[in-house]
């Protein structure tokens, strides 16, 4: 008989947690603006549990992380990321595979992040933004993943957020992808999304 691979029963728990976080995000990106619940894992303030779960499930030494000034000012955050993921922390947002933003109202200009190239638009930053709640000024969205239209709201966000999304779409296929975390809920706005009214 040929050997068949067997699963290591003892080490599956962290694998399950990573899978659950990834799958929730995969569904959010597939259905822009729709929310999914994610229990998350403990991490030092101001990192929310769901943010921590996403970072642990996606980041490692091959994916540089940029921290916004609020996160960067907390040494416990840097230590936590280094210890749990081994991901290099970079000072330039344009070098980051992931950007973590604690202060959503001060969301940096999207152009500061990696946009990818025309040939390789995937070489771009995924920006994970912590918000307080999924309410506020409603954006109506269309595009891949949306059957007709879908409404999305989050706050706090910069006043010109809708325009920034439109500008991001203008760059397509280059651009950034946005993930939002509020408590145990997450949502995502990939670059393919189109804002129809606000």
């Amino acid at each position: 008989m040929s050997p068949t691979p067997q699963m290591n029963e003892r080490s599956v728990e962290p694998a399950f947690a990573s899978q659950a976080a990834f799958r929730a995000l995969m569904e959010c990106l597939s259905r822009p603006g729709e929310r999914r619940t994610l229990d998350g894992i403990g991490a030092p303030a101001p990192m929310q549990a769901a943010t921590a779960a996403l970072v642990r499930s996606l980041a490692d030494y091959e994916s540089p992380i940029w921290l916004d000034p609020v996160f960067a000012a907390a040494p416990a955050i840097t230590d936590w990321i280094r210890f749990h993921t081994g991901a290099p922390i970079v000072a330039a947002p344009s070098k980051a595979a992931f950007a973590l933003v604690a202060d959503a109202s001060a969301l940096p200009d999207f152009m500061q992040f990696a946009q990818g190239s025309e040939e390789y638009p995937d070489r771009s930053t995924t920006v994970i933004v912590q918000v307080e709640r999924f309410t506020g000024t409603k954006l109506t969205l269309q595009g891949p993943g949306i059957e007709t239209t879908r409404d999305f709201a989050a706050e706090p966000l910069p006043a010109d957020f809708a325009q920034r999304l439109r500008d991001n779409r203008e760059m397509y296929p280059r651009g950034i992808d946005l993930v939002f975390v509020a408590g145990h809920e997450i949502a995502a706005l990939p670059r393919s999304v189109r804002v129809v009214e606000n």
């Binding site: 008989m1 040929s2 091959e62 390789y120």
Partner: protein
Amino acid sequence: MYVAVKGGERAIDNAHALLADKRRGDRNVPELSLEQIDNQLALAVDRVMCEGSLYDRELAALAIKQARGDMIEAIFLLRAYRTTLPRFGASEPIDTGAMDIRRRISATFKDLPGGQVLGPTFDYTHRLLDHTLTADSDIAPAATAPADAATFRSVADLLAGGGLIEGDAQATGEVGDLTREPLSFPAGRDLRLQNLARGDEGFLLALAYSTQRGFGRNHPFAGEIRYGEVEIEFFAEDAGFAVPLGVVAITECQMVNQFTGSATQAPRFTRGYGISFGQSERKSMAMALVDRALRAKELGEEAGSPAQDEEFVLSHSDNVQATGFVEHLKLPHYVDFQAELGLLRKLQAEFFERDAQTEAQLQDAAE
């Protein structure tokens, strides 16, 4: 009457059991041990380690046994195992100048510091079947020179002293790894060399041969071929210094090639580089020729031959990929075949209809 094909799982299990039975063969014949394969089919082990990208003689011997001697299957087994291993980092560059030499020859100088060391080689054997090997042979230990700590400078380095050959490429510190990052074109020389080192010996041999026959000729001389053991060191972050991991046997080939120079560069010799695990001179030499051929653009040479075409060479050198895709034609394709069949019938019907019409028109015209 048609019955849906069922029981695929049992058929597969039975096929595997039959394979295991055939692998073992006649039970009256003693079973091969891994030590026997390692010792007596050592060059097969070397090749499997090299193209399998994993230096472990015992695992390579196991793969050869499990694959019933099918080398590409054995390489595949080793690669699939390698992919599951945790990765700690990259070793420090090995120093082949400090090699514990088993064999070292140069075709460019009659004599040189350290001398020509023939070592174990088929080179001057007469290829006559040796029937004494059909029975247990009693081979006396061979005479060897006493081990000493002498190291030999490479021939290329000797030439570089006089400015007759280009220097070694500048080390950048970072090397790519095509098993971690998919290859994109143009690839750097580091990735090219990694790809060639893992590449199929037969494919590289044919490409190298084609350059000698004029498809991208680069006037090579075998500056030096050396085979022996080198130490592998790994820089441990926690220790803060490089620690020795062990010793590997490798074959290195430095080709010296003609270069006529350009408007900005003086004529001088250029290099092609080949390296392989174990003793594998054919592979190392072929690799060095292909490496040099792939440098055609960099050196401003005309580059229209297959061996000079980076995308062609690097995309087709991997025998595990190649055999998988060629052999996947064994898998069912009846859905697509049906679609083609349907289209073909339609095209044929239309063709014959047109034909008949033309015939009828000709008939009318004749009457």
